[in-house]
């Protein structure tokens, strides 16, 4: 989708991604819930755009609060964030781990339809209310329920372990595993530069060694380690989606915004299995649409925020979006291309493995990270944005390559 009207994102805000790895995280003590995360992120954005009076609509992206927190009806939390949002339209959208991306799509559509000049988009998930082994049951609902019984105890790690196994068989195990370990190292090294990242305080000396450890199929999956997996996280992210009018109303100069130049939103049949487990075809299609509509190629991207729920998903994505030839994703990573100083820095604050993966928030978090990078707000994590590459891409995925939201952003000045 190519917007028929100028559309921007501004005023991003991320809470801390809370969970194992954060020093202040203690599963036995009472912690912040949905309300606190929604409030912190929502108010964080409102403060930057002149308050609730400038907001026309609200949208919340969330996957499974109904089970993690026994809470539905999240659209009606908007007025809790700020009383100025009472009686304004607001809704919650869901598309598994792409819920955050869908919140952005929903907000973009509202602005395009001219029903709003400013939409407050928030993504939120609070997952540490249950142990990981029960969380796995909840997260498994992002797959087809009729396939749960035959799935792994850790359903999605099992799905992506199978993808890794198929990839090993087709292209070789050793180099692929080295690349997966490097993916982990990049993620942690980037997370160490971002104070809100779950792995910010990671002190592991030898990240390569940690990443390359042999998987233990008895306790976990056949082909993946914990280091190959995204985190179990509590967190929220918010951003404002605005028209030119909205930008003016908020009194924000153009240079502090990023332009949304194209959106690729694609879904595939949840009841079917991937035709080829070594390809992410829905990601391929969504990104193709986004790049085509933006009128650019991958070579014009300064950075990508991609959905590395598992290292192997990150690797296969590189091939599926055309950065590397099929079977060459591992080389692409090992040559250093995806590191923060490489050809195309990917997941510059750690991605889902390093920053964290509060499922429903992730899509919005990616947009906030892109906004920070393109407007020079990324602090210690700031990368160089070359003048001839003013674009960035975010890829947010739900389930096993079933719902994908790809967005192309452009630096405004």
């Amino acid at each position: 989708m190519k917007p028929r009207r100028k559309i921007y994102m501004v005023a991003g805000y991320n809470t801390i991604s809370m969970g194992t790895g954060r020093k202040e995280f203690n599963p036995k003590k009472e912690r912040a819930g949905l309300e606190e995360y929604l409030k912190e992120a929502g108010q964080g954005t409102l403060q930057q755009i002149g308050g609730a009076k400038n907001v026309d609509e609200g949208v919340v992206g969330n996957f499974m609060a109904a089970r993690f927190n026994n809470q539905g009806h999240l659209g009606a939390f908007m007025a809790m964030i700020d009383q100025g949002l009472r009686y304004k339209p607001s809704l919650r959208v869901e598309g598994a781990c792409a819920s955050g991306g869908l919140a952005l799509v929903s907000g973009i559509k509202s602005v395009l339809s001219e029903s709003a000049d400013t939409v407050l988009a928030i993504g939120v998930e609070v997952q540490n209310t249950v142990k990981a082994i029960y969380g796995a049951d909840i997260l498994a609902t992002a797959g087809w329920n009729k396939r749960r019984k035959d799935g792994h105890a850790y359903f999605f790690p099992g799905q992506f372990s199978d993808r890794a196994g198929a990839y090993f068989q087709k292209y070789g195990r050793e180099k692929t595993r080295l690349a997966m370990a490097r993916w982990y190292r990049n993620a942690i090294e980037n997370a160490r530069l971002c104070t809100t990242a779950q792995e910010y305080a990671n002190v592991t000396d030898d990240l390569d060694e940690a990443g390359i450890a042999e998987p233990n199929p008895k306790a976990f999956t056949d082909f993946l380690n914990y280091t190959d997996c995204s985190k179990v996280s509590d967190g929220a992210s918010a951003i404002a989606i605005v028209s030119e009018e909205g930008l003016k109303k908020a009194g924000i100069p153009l240079k502090d915004a990023v332009e949304v130049v194209a959106v690729g939103h694609a879904t595939d049949d949840i009841t079917s299995n991937p035709e080829d487990p070594t390809v992410m075809s829905t990601i391929r299609e969504a990104v193709k649409i986004a790049l085509n509509d933006a009128g650019i190629t991958v070579d014009q991207l300064a950075t990508i925020e991609t959905h590395d729920c598992f290292s192997i998903a990150g690797l296969i994505t590189l091939e599926s979006i055309g950065l590397a030839e099929p079977g060459k994703g591992a080389d692409f990573i090992l040559e250093g291309n995806t590191s923060r100083t490489g050809k195309i820095p990917i997941n510059t604050t750690g991605g889902l493995i390093g920053w964290g993966h509060p499922t429903g928030a992730t899509g919005v978090h990616q947009a906030v990270t892109v906004w920070e990078q393109l407007t020079g707000r990324a602090g210690d994590a700031q990368i160089n944005i070359p003048a001839d590459k003013p674009y960035a891409l975010s890829i947010n995925m739900g389930g096993d390559d079933r719902t994908v939201v790809a967005i192309v952003y452009k630096k405004t000045m």
């Binding site: 082994i133 049951d137 498994a140 749960r148 019984k149 105890a153 199929p217 008895k218 306790a219």
Partner: protein, 445 residues
Amino acid sequence: MDYNERISNVSVLGAAGKMGSGILLLMAIEMADQGLKPENKGKPYVLNAIDVTSGALPGLMKYIRTQVLKAAEKKVVVLRKLYAHRADLVDNGEIIEEYINDVMSIIRPGTRLEAAFESNLVFEAVSENAALKVKLFTQIDTNSIVKPWYFTNTSSVPISGLNEKAGIGGRILGFHFYNPPAIQKLVELITIKENPDGMKEFAHELAKSLKKIIVPSNDIAGFVGNGHFMRDALYSIEQAEKLSSEMPLHEAVYAINKVSQDFLMRPMGIFQLIDYVGVDVVRFIMNVMDPYMSNENLHSDMLDKLFDLEIKGGQYADGSQKDGILKYEKGRPVAVYSLDKKDYVPFADFASKTDAWLGELPKEVMPWKNIIRMADKDAVAMEAFARLKVLNSKGAELALAHARRSREIGLQLVNTGVAASAQDVNTVLATGFFHAYGPVNEFVN
């Protein structure tokens, strides 16, 4: 009778106790896992949890349920395969719940010994009282239709004596778990020459299934583990008493405790270990062992005094530490009991002075939690002791003397035939006491 038939009907005597409850948990899980195998489908498994304290049984069942839940959560990957045939169990949560029900349905709690009359295997984990053990074995054996094998968890009473007095024809061996049985890897196995064919092999097979490491011990009171621990404890008490010419006794106790933990790189100080096991239990074990040791006096006046003053240590039902020789806050020692003052004296009142007296801990001597993670612990220990030897401090001096005494005790256990080898002694200390290095080594000399 094969392995499966042997464990199809089991009784645990003293099931509500510290050791009994752990053994019950291990057996309940092992029996349930066997029952879930396709080849054992439909076979009944019965595990009698027998304890005289009727009031403790509900708490016991609650404890077992909680522990089985934890175990199930850890092995849900395997459980999903075991319950693959059950179409109605889809979520991990459903499978875990079903597994708990399957384990719990095996256990029959009760106070009556009659339940054991049909058991093929009887675990005995009652208090360390030889006469009581003999009485129970005799009663079961007289009435049993199957003439069971008896696995006693005694940590000190010789097995041959129990066998003779109970008249059970050699169907008894020592299967000594360490506390807590569900966690500690070590089982000391004490066989006697009268054991029937296959009994020892079964014991090994069971230990393997329970993921335990067996160290054989000869049938000499105290066996290997307590043979070392009791002598090590007595040595420490003597050292503290000796030091009391230079400082108050409670400060000396603190000093020796610190030396044995920090300088010897052990998981806890020796007086904390005595508290962990229980002052009363340690004293009791010494009393059991003493008559068998012709050239030694296994007895401590200090422990008697503490016992008389009700300073006992041991643990609460939830596993937390009771105050003993030391006083604990959140599991960490914070004060030491003074026999003079009849009260605890906070470490804060004197520790800096005593620490200075002991001297600085060299950097080569690392905390136990660090050395235990190292690949080559012996090399690290060797370097630490090399440093202690050239360090001119009280702490180093006491540590070296203690390590040498510990080595001497280990060698004594080998020389008197309690342990088959120095390696076995080292394995017991490594797996039963979590020591980072075995006492019988060359680097302390």
